[in-house]
Amino acid sequence: MKNQIKYGILAAGLVAALSGCNSSSEDVVVSAPLFSVGQAVSTKTPLQGSIKGTLKSDSTYNVTGDVFINEGDTLLIQPGAKVLFDGKGAWYFVVKGSLLSLGTQAKPIYFTVPSSVAVKNETLGADPTTDPAYKGFWGGIAGETTFKNIIIKWTHLDFGGGKLGTSPVSFLANGANAYTLTSKNSDGIVVLEDSWVYGAVDDPCRPFGGKYNIMRNTFEKCGFTGGEAFNIKGGTVGNFAYNLIIGMATNGPKASNDGQSPTQPQTNILMYNNTMVANGWRRSSDGRGGSINYENGAKGGYYNNLIVDSKYGPRIVGATASYAGNSLVVADTSNIKYSNNYNYVDSLKMANQIYPVGFTTKPQTTDIPAPSTFLPTGYKPGQAYDGTAVVQKNNPLFVNFPLPYVATKKIADASFVGTFNFRLQPTSPALGKGTTGFTPLNVVPISERYGSTEITAPSTDIGAYPSNGKGNQH
């Protein structure tokens, strides 16, 4: 697919070049100045304390303590910059003003640790108790209650989410687990686009209110024995779309309206066109989900998601849930819309939880597999059923991922992308089964620097990689 795009660009360029020959006027192409803000930050002194200005392109910065971007200040990170944490504390980038991490496809930015601290273990079946992905070697990026913008594009956020010492953030407790990306300002704008989030002890991304657009990212190996890719708390609105999520301890996105405060709106999240593979398997306690979850007063919708070998299908907590083990409170069920979601399962256990037992997810006729092919007549949401009929049926035909999954002993081993390719083969039954009958939530501006590059519209193809090439670019 990447090659197809490249050829397309090449062809267009040839046509343009030829047509240019026919014109008498000059076709001028000059480079734009590299965007910078304030003074360049020196690479000589380690990053720590209050910082503003620009982290220069292709430079390496070493972080040795918590970094603060004060109210009214902006820190810009230019393409190709590397921010390396020393691994000696869960250091945070505390944003009280604005952080712009503007990488490009050609020159992504890195927030990570030097290889002397940790390297990715990309062996299938690696033991999660020793995998550095679940250790947390730095804290994260936190929008304090005053921040304006956190714009992260084409950036790697690897090995974050460690255990905090003294919390530098007013809304996280001392000694608690950090979240790689978190914020608490319902007026703040957070954009995470075309980026990679790899590893975290708990949730890599947890908003406590704010305007979010999380699009076209790849999440791998997040949450040691619990943790969601996007664990949404009260007062958060936005989109979660075209993301590839593999190997989360629990769910991909989970929406809740916990702690909505008087200055905040109700949590409202649209989750669409995501591809979720092998999630929910490291969650130690039972029944916490493995794909999509709506609970405690959250509203929104989910469409066109491709869910493969996840412990549970999409789960909506309703009034009938008689459940313990963790707080489960009713979602704003009358204000959640959903359809056209695709579920592939390799075992009966998973098949029996495509519509999780005890919850109120209503089967939709547009779902794949069709509910009528395996649910008993008179099925009521939450009822236990026998899913034998759909085990290993409706293979979505990824370009490179073995289904049925027989590569090693368990599906939980598939927790990273590596050489897998989750684009769809041209014959995939997921193509053309999606819906475009809803409008994304446009809560962040469209902007090269201060907003989202593109709020990608829903596709008629299910999953993060639609055939029009406008989805996930990884």
Partner: protein, 917 residues
Amino acid sequence: MRYILLISLFVSSLAVKAATIKGYVTDAQTGESLIGATVTLTKSDGETTKQGVVTGLDGSYTLRDVPEGTYKLTVSYVSYKTLTQTLTVGSGTISQNIALNSSSNDLSEVVISGRGDRESENSTRKTEQKADNVLNIIGAKAISLLPDITVGNVLQRVSGVSVVRNSTGDGQFAIIRGMDKRYNYTLVNGIKIPSPDNKNRYVPMDIFPADLLERLEVVKALTPSMEGDAIGGAMNMIMRSAPDYLVINATASGGYSQMLSSQPFSGFSTSGINFRSPSEVAGSNRYAAQPSDFSTKTAQYQNVKLPANGLLSLSIGNRVLNKRLGFLVGGSYQHTYRGSETTFLRLFGQPSPDPVPNTPIFEFVEQRKYSNEQARLGLNLKTDYVFNEANKISLYGLFMQLDDKQHRTVLGNQLVQIGDVTTTDRSVFRRQNVYNASLQGDHALTGKLKLNWSAVYSLAKSQTPGWTDLSITSRTALAPDGVSQQSTLYINNLNYIWTRNNDRDLAGYVNLNYTVAPGFEVSAGGMFRDKDRNNYYNDYQLSTVLPGGDRQVFTSVDKAIFSFRPESYAYPDSTNANNYTAKEQVGAAYIQGKYNNDHWQILGGVRAENTQQSYVSQLPVTATGKTGKIQYLDILPSLHFKYKLSARENIRLSYFRGISRPGYFELVPASFPGDFYTETGNYNLKHSVADNLDARYELFPRGNEQLLIGAFAKNIKNPIEYGFSDLAQNNIVYQPINYGNALNYGAELVFSHYISNWGISGNYTYTHSRITTTKRVYGRDANGSTVATTQQQTRPLQGQSDHIANLSLIYKSSQTGIDAQLAWVYTGKRINIVSAYKDLDYWQRGTSQVDFSAEKRFGTRVSVFAKMTNLLNNPIIVDILRPNTLVGYPDQDHTDRITVQKDVFGQSYLLGIRYKR
């Protein structure tokens, strides 16, 4: 002094051979009835003792069937001069009242210098009557007859006092006249002691064994010479002091708690507990703990076969070296096993917006079972040395230790159909100590000028090492046939906490008293206190996840495999905001004058208190308020007016201004984020200042009888309550806040009345208070979206009951040597927990408790006693006052309220023997 003996003879027209002699024995100076005085009648020829009786509760005695003749009537009473009188008996009834003189001569101001038997009921009433200000007293004799073994429980017998109970059902903190514990302070011999509580100033009163007390005073109106930081009142524990003659008191008793017959006592061993956490043992804050550093013994539970309670106390006092050196050494040891059971509906932290705003929703129905083993040790030493008439020094030492071992089992939701069901065991071993050493001097510099000074060292300490939380989970799944199926048991993370705190006080007091003229005194003095407080906190979480990421099947905790995953969890959590230090210096000076004549007394003056506080917190350097200093000065006037309507009646009017300082940690802006809101301290918090008015009519008909009728009003400026505030844009926190003023008023009635061997005593207090605070409402807007808003709600102050009552029926027979008391205490409905959400406060229902105690004396020195508490096994029930639509939940008996907690403690019994000389 010479005295008068009134003899009245009533000779009937019919001559009979035997007569009856009746009368009252009283104090010659005060006219109080003397209870238990020995009256003997001897033939004047000295041959044989004819008859002997002991006076009853009202000081009365009766001698029957006395043949004609001439007798010697001898009346004796401890610390009074024995009186002998010749009496000629004919026939009929002879009324013979006798007044005794005290053997010591300075009973005028009992509180300070009395040498009478200050533990007696008579003395207690006398002190109340003679006191300069409004107070209530329970003396040691009354305490020994009470069913209570700790001061915490004794407090609830005092008029206007209700208690907050600990998990075993024993009183722990006092609420005085509806004023929460934060508004009261605790004194030992008039000296303020620090608290072992980890965040607050108020002292847990269940530390103190009741049998070391000479008396317990609850002072409700402060004089300028008293420290000014009480608005509800001050609890003053006067410990037993050096007597004038040899005194030996000893008791030994054993008992049993009824609860443990149906619920075995499940204890744990503290032998593996280290008072220091692993990082402290290693001496490094960068020490990576090993699972082998942790003992699992605290999580291994064994049933105790015979959980019998044992109590011992001994005190010895005498005055030696030509009566110059007096001492009293007292010790008390109490070892008790208690059980209790609680049904608990755990409210979800955020209510539901449907069907109506703030609809409470419940996460769990829990059964909690408590096994508490307490060892309470108290040592008390009082010595004084009298140089001469004018100079005396005294040394006082106090050591208190309460070891509390609590095992709490929480059985998870019994209503679960799907999901995990978790049983949690918690072992908490807590050692609390209070040390106090005071050196005091009394000097009469001239005939008119007296000096009194104290140098005081106190330390309050609480240590909770190796707090252990173990939880075991099983999985409940719904099979296709609709039946719940339970899985094997899995062991979850094992958690340990080390926490401790110290509060060290150094204080000096100086008082000068000048007698300007007879009946007119002026005093002035000052005080300085330096306080140093620190808190330590460290916790560890040991993971049970197995290599490969699998869940660990539970067999027993000693066989479980633990590890630190991720490895960073092995480092100490010394950065927790619960680590803090605070300092406080209070300097005070006062001047007061006291004038009295035959009819009235006026005491008034002014006190100035200067407070300086500082703290150092764990906040990052970038935060506002990492360190702080706070200073303020209070001018506290007071005026106490007493008018003697008659020798037995007073009318009192008093005014005082008192303050209440915020808790140590309430000022520190460290945040404790929760799921639904963040809690934080508030450095803008102001201390509370209250103007207090009291009026009281007092009648002391005789001896230990009394009738007190009073009214009070308190206007409290800046009371401290919790509520929401907008710290900054989008940063709304739950914190202690001043919400303007609150008015608290009420009335009190105290009475005791005796007829021969029977007595009835009781008290009743009505209190009314209101405060308005901000609370959160979670509902829906016009578009159907959920919305959180803030609204104001008016309610009584936390802990304030409108009605508090005590009633005791007392039997006391000197002839048979039997004392018995049936005591009933009632605490009206009150708010236990103030919710952050509107209309979701936790209300404790009005609750009663009935206790019984009895004592039988054999001879003059030995007695046997029994104490039975909570005879009717009354539960404590807590409700949320919202319509109840729950189906299938336990203990729901009303449609207009939801019962969220029901505590059952069971009866307890104690049988013992007492020796006294």
